[in-house]
């Protein structure tokens, strides 16, 4: 009997303890941010935007960009090209759909998309302290930058994988699996973000605002996005739009907000709703002195905001290589940079500070390098071949390099001694992501595609003339038919953007990745490039796990 009583007592005690827990769990935590109240001020929204920029600084992002943009193409020899490693398989195009680098590229760019979506989806929770026009502009610029960044991440994805799933801005557990959009739909989504950002941002940010994505960055990236949709040799609306934007950016043609948005053809949205969504001050609240941005409102001019003269942010002359170093940060030719310094507090272990390009690619045992033959192929007699460096040669600041015998590296990856951070976890310089020269060469290429060879040559030579100042040369590009001019523009692109991780995307876009890599494979004992399959390897496979976890809703690319 006593045994029973004892058991009942224990049971009652247990019930009591358990029911007590309930109450404790229900209590709300006070004084903390939740996702409901987090975005209610500009500062909090800015914090979310900073977190999006953070992705660009991450090692995963940098790493993925050079592996795919440079190591797979025909300007480098990799230290790791054995078929037993994932990297070797990647650059030989003999990978399977579970390749780890393909998966990492997918993940890091979607991580960026997700963070940008946090800003975009929550912007309407911000409460303004007053109704000043400037308050709206502050929020609008944060939103615009988030749109630019989202476009940048999606552009990386569409270049790599073709059409990809467009993630909803607000994610819930009910819609985790999203089918892929088509290539056209994905591009349209990117274009929309960039066109809106181009209207929302300032043409260039300077001094303490340097590093923010500007309208220049949005328009420059938009031109690239349009160019990637167009095919060389085939007339298309996309080429015409690149020309139109080039006239606006380079030649100073005026452009209205509705022209930039292509409002008439792309929008069903009422103008005022659109304005409110993009955080232009609502018409009914506008004061007498506040500007009103109607469809015919002329957006800020970009001409002269950037030049390709080698001058720094204050207009003082710098050297060609300084464009890539600390001295040339935010220089007049730099449109968008991935800023590494601001988060560099010197502590190690924070991957978002970014290992420097210098320590990864230049300092010791570079994972990729060129040889004499490659350098000759890229540069020929061009003066810019002097901006590469070989075994035990002296850098511009007189450092004897430890590059292996027979290997050549680009000085674009170098960081001068005086700029090198004390802590290895930091990066000594920003990564140049988009330069004004790119805009001009895209403009030239589009002009040629639209049958305007004479003006294309003029644009191409406008930059060559600047390069000529380096060695007092007078050699310019020569006029010719469509094919000849196109080849000269492509040659200039290869030289000027060499080792900026652009080469693979460029040859794919130009439709000659297979032939370029086949030619390259004949130069290499390990025949790297021979296995590139035309019509298949221009895009990579969707990571196998994405196909698996979606139970086939996310379909694989053809050929994989």
């Amino acid at each position: 009997m006593t045994k029973y009583i004892f058991k009942i007592q224990i049971l009652c005690l247990a019930l009591l303890v358990l029911s007590g827990c309930n109450d404790f769990l229900d209590k709300e935590v006070l004084g903390n941010s939740t996702d409901k109240n987090f975005y209610d001020t500009r500062y909090k929204l800015q914090a979310a935007l900073n977190a999006t920029y953070d992705i660009l600084q991450s090692d995963e992002f940098t790493d993925s960009d050079w592996r795919f943009g440079e190591a797979t193409a025909d300007d480098v020899i990799g230290s790791d090209e054995g078929l037993s490693s994932q990297m070797g398989q990647l650059v030989h195009f003999r990978f399977n759909t579970s390749n780890t680098y393909i998966k990492k590229r997918w993940d890091i760019n979607y991580k960026g998309v997700h963070r940008a979506n946090q800003v975009i989806a929550n912007v309407d929770r911000v409460q303004l302290s007053n109704n000043d026009y400037s308050k709206y502009r502050e929020i609008r610029e944060i939103l615009g930058q988030a749109k630019f960044l989202r476009a940048l991440f999606y552009f990386n994805l569409v270049k790599t994988f073709g059409g990809v799933p467009i993630r909803p801005e607000i994610e819930t557990v009910d819609n985790l699996v999203i089918p892929r959009s088509s290539r056209e739909e994905t591009f349209a989504y990117i274009e929309k973000d960039l066109r809106e950002a181009a209207c929302m941002l300032s043409n260039r940010y300077t001094s303490s605002n340097s590093g923010k994505a500007s309208a220049g960055a949005a328009v420059g990236l938009l031109m690239k996005v349009l160019m990637y949709q167009a095919t060389p040799g085939t007339p298309s609306e996309k080429w015409e739009q690149v020309v139109e934007l080039g006239k606006y950016f380079v030649q100073g043609a005026s452009m209205t907000m509705s022209q930039m948005l292509r409002y008439d053809e792309r929008y069903n949205e009422d103008w005022e709703t659109l304005r409110k969504r993009l955080w232009f001050k609502p018409k009914e609240l506008n004061g007498e002195t506040d500007p009103y941005e109607g469809p015919d409102f002329e957006i800020a001019k970009l001409v002269n905001a950037y030049t390709f003269k080698y001058t720094d942010a204050t207009g003082s002359p710098i050297t060609y290589l300084d464009q890539f170093y600390s001295a040339g940060e935010f220089c007049s030719g730099s449109i968008f940079e991935i800023v590494f310094k601001e988060s560099g507090d010197g502590t190690t272990g924070d991957t978002n500070e970014g290992s420097s390009i210098y320590s990864t690619l230049f300092a010791s045992g570079s994972p990729m390098y060129a040889d004499d033959q490659i350098i000759a192929n890229i540069f020929g007699n061009d003066y810019r071949r002097n901006f590469t460096i070989g075994h035990h040669q002296y850098t511009p600041d007189h450092e004897n390099t430890e590059i292996g015998a027979g290997r050549i590296l680009s000085l674009k990856w170098y960081t001068p001694i005086k700029d090198r951070p004390t802590y290895t976890g930091d990066s000594g310089k920003n990564r140049r992501y988009l330069r004004y020269v790119d805009v001009v060469l895209m403009f030239a290429e589009a002009l040629n595609e639209c049958g305007n060879g004479a003006e294309a040559l003029e644009q191409l030579n406008s930059y060559k003339a600047v390069v000529n100042e380096l060695n007092n040369s007078s050699s310019l590009y020569i006029g010719g038919g469509y094919g000849y001019l196109r080849d000269q523009i492509w040659k200039e692109r290869r030289i000027e953007f060499s080792y900026e991780w652009e080469r693979f995307w460029d040859i794919v876009r130009q439709g000659r990745a297979a032939s370029a890599l086949k030619t390259f494979s004949t130069m290499r004992p390990n025949k790297r490039g021979l296995y590139f399959r035309e019509g298949v390897n221009e895009i990579f496979p969707i990571p196998q796990t994405e196909v698996d976890i979606s139970n086939g809703v996310v379909t694989q690319n053809p050929g994989y």
Binding site: N452, G480, G483, Y484, D548, G559, Y560
Partner: protein
């Protein structure tokens, strides 16, 4: 009693352990389903594994993945979650083998089951994507399709390069852009060579033969853009200026003695070919007969056509500007 109990327990424990050693893997079952058995090259083949096994690999039968050569370092590809996708690069017939395996933890017992099917990969590309003369002086000039079989290459007679005007030969190399490496090209029944020069004065009979054996004929026509061979007005000979950017655009700038009446003149001119026709607007111009008003620049429209093929034409423009001295 206690000792007896302990002994029994000891035996039981030993028995339990030995039983484990004899544990056998369960028999796996290999089975797969596939939508179809004939594919194009680079087309995705989807295989669903429908049997039951812990580990499944598929030997696709092509280079490095041949089941028969599994002892010679050929290997199978792992199947995840029952779905496997693959595509073949080379046409041919392949044996796809699925190997299903179960084994015990220590690997003492391994049981396998296999199943297989044959798949045929065909390469039947006979489509020309693009066709060009890759070395016209220095330029790559592309031909255009006129219809299903006929392609047309429009060439200028001369090309301006730097300060000289180089004559364009009708003997040119050709370059084919075709979706498959296995497709063979024949020109006038001889195998195409990328280094040989072909005489474009005649129609070239092109034949594409796919790996599968399908043949498709094409014809390549070449037409020179029309231009004036000579152009004379009021006793003055005009010289032609070319554009290095646009091969179908020419200018003639000439000066005539001052006081001449330019409003109603009939220039005398000669053409390179009887198949060239000259128009101002839609009125055909005849040397020494039809008149034009030269007080402002006159635009001549040339239509050069292939003999007996009025649908195969090259159009060009000559603008004549006359300035009184």
């Amino acid at each position: 009693m206690k000792i007896a109990l302990k002994t029994i327990l000891g035996f039981l424990v030993i028995a339990a352990f030995t039983a484990c050693e004899d544990d056998e893997a369960t028999q796996p079952h290999a089975a797969m389903s596939v939508g179809k058995y004939i594919y194009d090259t680079n087309e995705t083949m989807k295989i669903h594994f429908t049997g039951s096994a812990e580990n499944v690999v598929i030997y696709t039968g092509d280079t490095d993945h041949d089941y028969e050569l599994r002892e010679a370092s050929n290997y199978g590809l792992v199947v995840n979650k029952g779905l496997f996708t693959y595509s073949y690069q080379q046409p041919g017939t392949y044996k796809v083998v699925c190997v299903a395996t179960n084994h015990t933890d220590a690997g003492n017992s391994i049981k396998r089951d296999t199943c297989s099917f044959m798949v045929k990969v065909i390469d039947d590309v006979t489509e020309i994507e693009r066709l060009s003369a890759p070395q016209v002086i220095y330029d790559e000039v592309f031909a255009n399709p006129v219809n299903e079989t006929d392609w047309l290459l429009r060439l200028p007679r001369k090309i301006k390069f730097k300060t000289s005007n180089a004559t364009v030969s009708l003997s040119q190399k050709l370059k084919f852009y075709i979706g498959s490496d296995s497709t063979k090209v024949y020109i006038d029944d001889k195998e195409f060579s990328s280094t040989a020069k072909y005489n474009l004065a005649n129609v070239l009979n092109i034949k594409l033969k796919s790996h599968e054996g399908t043949e498709r004929p094409y014809k390549l026509y070449t037409v020179n853009y029309g231009e004036f061979k000579t152009f004379e007005l009021l006793g003055v000979q005009g010289t032609i200026t070319r554009s290095e950017f646009d091969y179908s655009y020419y200018e003639i700038n000439m000066t005539v003695p001052s006081g001449s009446d330019l409003s109603n003149l009939a220039p005398t001119f000669t053409l390179y070919s009887d198949n060239d026709k000259v128009y101002i607007d839609d009125v055909e111009q005849i040397s020494g007969t039809t008149t034009a008003d030269f007080t402002k620049p006159v635009t001549y429209r040339f239509v050069a056509s292939y003999p007996n093929r009025p649908d195969i034409t090259a159009e060009s423009t000559v603008i004549v500007t006359v300035t009184p001295q």
